[in-house]
């Protein structure tokens, strides 16, 4: 095998990734804390009162980050699951398995905070509109992925089955994203687009973006911690694990 400039698969084995993840985790916690403190400061002490929603709109500073993360984590999870399916790599499957609970948590928070926002503003805890329903389906997909993997004894077969479920479920992500454009929904339309400037106040936007970064760094930190546990659990029969805890 010729030595290429970029070693693409250097950290593709559980053995080499385990210590790398261990070194990365504290940095992601530090980043999460920094973004979180800055974001919360803006959320409560800089962003002004909303003309229509008063102080109630501040839920946006956790609702949007949780919703974005619920969708993004699913894409990352499906990516690793699909890669594991295609290349038959164990670590990819472990990463997908590690991301699922965090993604489920974000989806649950999106639904919870959304309901708490909807009640005072729309008068309803829940409506079966396109965005809310597709986010609920996303939450069920996460739970289904976790349940399916838990139900299969052989971890490699569980990886493969989960990967197929994750990949089929990916269609839900553009549905959630475009739901407010395609259907007549109660949920408001998109304020942040790829093609035009955001239509919200600067300070509100900054608060939202900083909190989104905080949730992102948090998700990585937790997923890396969990994948380390999964690596040790699934590789316990190997020599390096036996010697790793000396």
């Amino acid at each position: 095998m010729k030595q290429s400039i970029i070693q693409w698969f250097r950290f593709a084995s559980p053995q080499s990734f385990y210590p790398l993840a261990g070194r990365m985790i504290p940095w992601f916690w530090a980043a999460a804390a920094a973004f979180g403190i800055a974001g919360l400061w803006i959320s409560f002490f800089v962003a002004p009162t909303d003309a229509q929603q008063g102080e109630g709109y501040r839920i946006i500073f956790v609702h949007v980050p949780a919703s974005w993360m619920s969708m993004f984590i699913y894409l990352v999870m499906a990516f690793w699951a699909g890669l594991g399916l295609a290349l038959n790599t164990r670590l990819s499957g472990m990463m997908a398995q590690s991301l699922a609970p965090t993604g489920a948590l974000m989806a649950a928070l999106s639904l919870w905070t959304g309901a708490l926002w909807g009640k005072p503003m729309w008068g309803a805890w829940w409506v079966w509109d396109a965005r809310l329903t597709s986010e609920l389906i996303l939450f069920f997909l996460y739970l289904g992925f976790m349940a399916l993997q838990a139900a299969i004894d052989d971890p490699r077969r569980a990886d493969k089955a989960g990967a197929i479920l994750a990949l089929v479920g990916v269609v839900n992500i553009p549905i959630i994203y475009f739901s407010v454009k395609w259907w007549n929904t109660l949920h408001q339309g998109s304020t942040i687009n790829l093609t035009k400037a955001p239509s919200m106040a600067q300070t509100m936007l900054w608060g939202m973006l900083l909190m989104a970064l905080c949730f992102w760094m948090y998700s990585i930190a937790v997923a890396l911690t969990r994948v380390r546990a999964i690596i040790l659990e699934r590789e316990r029969h190997t020599e390096w694990v036996k010697h790793a805890l000396e």
């Binding site: 109630g56 708490l116 969990r226 040790l232 316990r236």
Partner: protein, 64 residues
């Protein structure tokens, strides 16, 4: 900063239940989840150490 008092801050203009219910749930779950993940890691480590000790005991018993 536009809060005239701590009470005003906690009242959130009448939306206290909804705003603090949201931030509270986030804080709760985002503390519980890393705690559970860390615990899972430490449990598997302890289990591996126990396994190794059991192996060592077994080999000691076989070679008196």
């Amino acid at each position: 900063m536009h809060w005239n008092s701590v009470g005003e801050f906690f009242a959130m203009g009448g939306y206290a239940l909804y705003v603090w219910g949201s931030f509270g749930a986030c804080a709760l779950l985002m503390v519980a989840e890393p705690f559970l993940a860390k615990r899972r890691l430490s449990e598997v480590r302890k289990s591996l150490i126990r396994e190794r000790l059991a192996d060592e005991l077994e080999t000691q018993q076989r070679t008196p």
